[in-house]
């Protein structure tokens, strides 16, 4: 549930808010309905991870990944554009997970 809500709200926000709005969304959503720390972290992580994969692919697939294949060459990594997608999604996931975790921990700290 948490996963889906963060995913959907962040997706909508991506059209008019900066990328870090996803962190705020994960934080607030986790505050409201988050339960255990572990599950909340992974819900936040998964939601933003999946969202960023989707957003990147929406642009990259109609582009035949031309740009991603060029950009990966800026990194000291094998020239596989899919690695760039993975790095992107991991960063998003990490921010989403930590923000969600913060949300649920904050709720626990302040709710009594």
């Amino acid at each position: 549930m948490l996963f889906l809500i963060i995913l959907i709200l962040s997706f909508i926000s991506s059209f008019f808010l900066p990328w870090w709005a996803a962190a705020a969304i994960a934080f607030l959503t986790a505050w409201v309905i988050g339960k255990t720390s572990g599950k909340t972290f992974w819900s936040g992580f998964g939601a933003i991870f999946v969202l960023w994969v989707i957003l990147a692919l929406i642009k990259s697939i109609p582009n035949d990944n031309i740009l991603a294949s060029r950009v990966i060459q800026l990194f000291p990594l094998p020239h596989q554009w899919i690695l760039l997608l993975l790095i992107t999604a991991l960063i998003g996931g990490l921010v989403g997970g930590l923000a969600a975790l913060s949300g649920v921990l904050a709720k626990k700290a302040f709710s009594k």
Partner: protein, 811 residues
């Protein structure tokens, strides 16, 4: 405990977000760049465009229809000239915004603002050379002319209209990588682009090295080795052309004064081999009976491409060609009546003057037998992450004193500050170059062409012309100072008014020729004229090789077509090899060669003198010639002193006519070498080197593999350029492609009732590495083919090459 955990988690999250958004050194803000919401993923363009697009833009006066062909080249149809230049600005910005930004930023000495102190030296150099000072003066010239004011302002409006609607996610990828935002376009940026061209084509100088030569070798040797007219030549204006004007009196040379040598100025070295080709044949040489014009300007090749192709139509004009991103009008192109092109003249329009200051305050300098006040210009250079740098540049009436060693070389610790030199440079003068292009774009005949040229200041160009009236013409043209012979060959005494530029060659007395009997005109940066021309333009020009080859081919050409011209643009035949190889081969004592060397000798002996990609002979000859040249001029190699090495033309003369010259003797040996010794030594040494590096002659020896040809991104980003590719050509052949420099636009235009243009540049219309149109024309260019240019006569004209339409109208 719970509270601590919560706060810790929040803190970690915030620090992470902060770190991801922050630029560390050269590493861009990671998340700003990578996040798919606004980062680089957003720059990935789909190959499908909306077939119809409508935009409402502020400031337009009417409706503009833009049709895009299969290469996404825009064909603009505007109802008035204001909207035409507005649309040109808008579309150029849409495709090339970062290129426009970085080029003008570089010219303006403002790179440090975005990349920090590492660009400070370059910025300071540009400021101190007076690029800003020159751009300000040029802008004054533009704005005085109501027509040009309108054009520049409309273009600027168009660029800004695009920038204003830009969201962060739409920024070109380079802005995201470097972590900065596009800024408002200003009219002066258009002037900066011209300054940049002047810097590339007329901003190098050899006076400092020449002055050192003079001190080292003396006047006799220097005059012998650096003559005012080359050994081999085939000038642009055919030999024997009569000058039908009464020349102005030539200024008297100043007292022969050689400026004291200073080791402090480090002007940009003149880069040899910068050049271009153009030619036009008369109707009686072409299959159609109408003239054909061809042009291929050679410049540093980059992505995004140097040129932006477009068709521009309004009630006053219908023109097709290439423009400079950031400047209005078409620079090289054609309309229904005329076509024109340019190559560089290489006039001496940059001189250095030794300045004598009264004291260290440098408030006064000695000139015309009295102390004169200097001017001071404070250049403020903003530096990313640091305090701004204030740089004071002293100006004499000549121009800026470019090198101020106090700020430039503190670590050297010179006790007695050497006197700096002032720069007199045509690029500092008020000018109105765009008017030339504005008029050429609308030109109908030879008279219009001649009138247009009178507005052009710098960098002086060989303007070639062909018209439907069956006229052809060429004019080395620009604002060229009136000088005594060799004025500015060396650093001059800045206190003597006789050394100043004494006026200008009148425009109608610039060398020109119309419909010469030989039936063609051409230029390839060689000497403008033979030695009968009354004025001094420069003591040296580019080598004659390309020009001679072009003229040899055109002389015998009959029934020429577009394709004959195209093949000529790809011609790899080496005039140098023709001139020197037989003599070099004759000198070789084959009895002294070992088996491998002999094998190589046989290859180069049979070589057809073409620098083709698969030619092994070309690689051998090239290495041999360069080594020969190195050995001959060993006296000129000096780590401590900048010396000018004699030209290849002088080497050729030495080889062919002076076998016992003292210059063949090597400095470091007790024996006295002659031409034969050096030719043999150069051969064995260069061949052994090839054998060592490349093994036995074979594929690795092919010229296309030996020469390193590539096109890089302007910021040298790996993956954003072509990488090395296999191709023929070299500096002194018509197809002058070498390293990252070569034909930046190849155009051939067949005049006639229905003008037909062909052209291609290495790259694409889009500057976005994430676009299908970033390099879609590269392969065509590399393979030596041309695209037929779509020259629409009305916005409604049917063509199966039109892919989409954009309609702009006012809000």
């Amino acid at each position: 405990m719970k509270l601590f955990k919560a706060l810790l988690s929040i803190a970690v999250t915030l620090v992470l977000i902060w770190a991801l958004q922050t630029k560390f050194g050269d590493i861009p803000p990671i998340s700003e760049f990578l996040n798919p919401v606004s980062g680089f993923w957003q720059n990935a363009e789909s190959k499908n465009f909306k077939p119809e697009e409508y935009l409402h833009l502020e400031g337009l006066q009417g409706k503009v229809t833009i049709r895009f062909d299969e290469h996404r080249i825009p064909h603009i149809f505007a109802e008035n000239d204001h909207d035409l230049y507005y649309a040109q600005g808008y579309l150029t910005a849409r495709d090339r915004l970062w290129e426009m930004d970085i080029q003008t930023r570089s010219a303006a000495g403002r790179l440090s603002e975005i990349v920090g102190p590492k660009a400070l030296d370059l910025d300071r150099y540009h400021r101190r050379m007076g690029m800003t000072y020159g751009a300000e003066n040029t802008l004054k010239g533009f704005m005085k002319d109501p027509m040009m004011k309108m054009v520049i302002e409309a273009y600027t409006e168009g660029v800004n209209s695009y920038i204003h609607h830009l969201k962060k996610r739409d920024y070109p990828i380079e802005f995201k990588l470097l972590g900065y935002a596009p800024e408002e376009w200003k009219p002066i940026n258009c002037a900066y682009l011209l300054k940049l061209m002047s810097e590339t084509l007329a901003g190098g100088s050899s006076q400092f090295a020449m002055t050192n030569d003079l001190k080292r070798f003396g006047a006799k040797d220097v005059n012998d080795l650096f003559p005012d007219y080359p050994f081999h030549e085939d000038p642009i204006i055919p030999v024997g052309t009569k000058w039908d004007f009464k020349p102005l009196p030539i200024p008297k040379p100043s007292k022969d004064f050689i400026a004291l040598m200073t080791d402090t100025i480090k002007p940009r070295e003149r880069v040899p081999g910068i050049g271009s080709n153009n030619w036009a044949i008369a109707g009686n040489k072409s299959a159609s009976g109408y003239p054909i014009l061809a042009n291929d300007p050679h410049l540093n090749l980059t992505f995004p491409s140097i040129w932006y192709q477009l068709q521009m139509t309004s009630p006053t004009v219908n023109v097709y060609g290439v423009s400079l991103p950031g400047a209005p009008c078409i620079v090289i192109g054609y309309n229904q009546k005329i076509s024109w092109g340019v190559t560089n003249v290489d006039a001496d329009v940059l001189d250095w003057y030794q300045v004598k200051f009264k004291d260290n305050s440098k408030n006064e300098y000695w000139y015309n037998n009295k102390w004169n006040k200097t001017g001071k210009r404070i250049e403020v250079i903003n530096v990313l992450g640091q305090k701004p740098v204030y740089d004071t540049v002293i100006y004499t009436h000549h121009g800026p004193v470019v090198y101020d060693n106090v700020s430039q070389k503190p670590k050297e610790g010179h006790e007695n500050i050497p006197v700096g030199d002032a720069l007199r440079w045509i690029a500092h003068d008020e000018s109105d170059e765009f008017m030339t292009f504005y008029l050429l774009n609308r030109g109908k005949n030879y008279d219009d062409y001649r009138k247009a040229l009178t507005y052009f200041t710098a960098p002086a160009q060989n303007f070639i012309f062909a018209s439907n009236d069956k006229d052809i013409a060429i004019t080395p043209n620009g604002k060229i100072p009136l000088k005594f012979r060799d004025q500015g060959k060396f650093i001059m005494d800045g206190s003597d008014p006789a050394n100043d530029w004494q006026g200008w060659i009148p425009y109608d007395q610039n060398p020109t020729v119309k419909n010469p009997p030989r039936g063609f005109v051409s230029s390839a940066n060689q000497s403008s004229t033979d030695q009968t021309y009354p004025y001094y333009i420069n003591w040296r020009f580019e080598l004659y090789d390309r020009g001679k080859r072009i003229n040899d081919k055109l002389k015998v050409m009959q029934n020429a077509t577009i394709d004959s011209m195209r093949l000529m643009q790809m011609d790899n035949y080496s005039m140098r090899a023709q001139d020197v190889l037989p003599a070099m081969l004759r000198y070789i004592d084959t009895s002294k060669l070992h088996a491998d060397q002999l094998k190589v000798f046989q290859i180069v002996k049979k070589w057809d003198k073409h620098f083709a990609a698969n030619s092994v002979g070309a690689s051998i000859f090239n290495a041999w010639w360069l080594k020969f040249n190195d050995l001959v001029w060993d006296e000129f190699r000096d780590d401590k002193m900048l010396l000018n090495v004699p030209s290849f033309d002088r080497t050729e003369k030495l080889l062919l006519t002076e076998p016992n010259s003292k210059w063949f003797d090597l400095k470091g040996t007790p024996t006295k070498e002659t031409c034969a010794d050096i030719v043999n030594q150069a051969f064995t040494s260069s061949v052994d080197n090839l054998l060592k590096n490349l093994g036995q002659p074979g594929e690795k020896w092919e010229w296309g593999n030996v020469k390193e040809t590539h096109i890089n991104h302007l910021a040298n980003l790996p993956g954003f350029g072509t990488g090395q590719f296999y191709t023929g050509g070299t500096g002194a052949v018509i197809n002058a492609l070498r390293g990252g420099n070569g034909p930046s636009w190849r155009m051939v235009v067949q005049m006639g009732p229905q003008v037909k243009g062909y052209g291609v540049f290495p790259g694409g219309e889009s500057g976005n590495p994430g676009s299908y149109y970033y390099e879609d024309m590269f392969a065509t260019w590399r393979d030596g083919k041309l695209n037929e240019l779509l020259f629409l006569q009305s916005p409604d004209e049917k063509s199966n090459r039109i892919r989409s339409t954009l309609t702009l109208s006012s809000k």
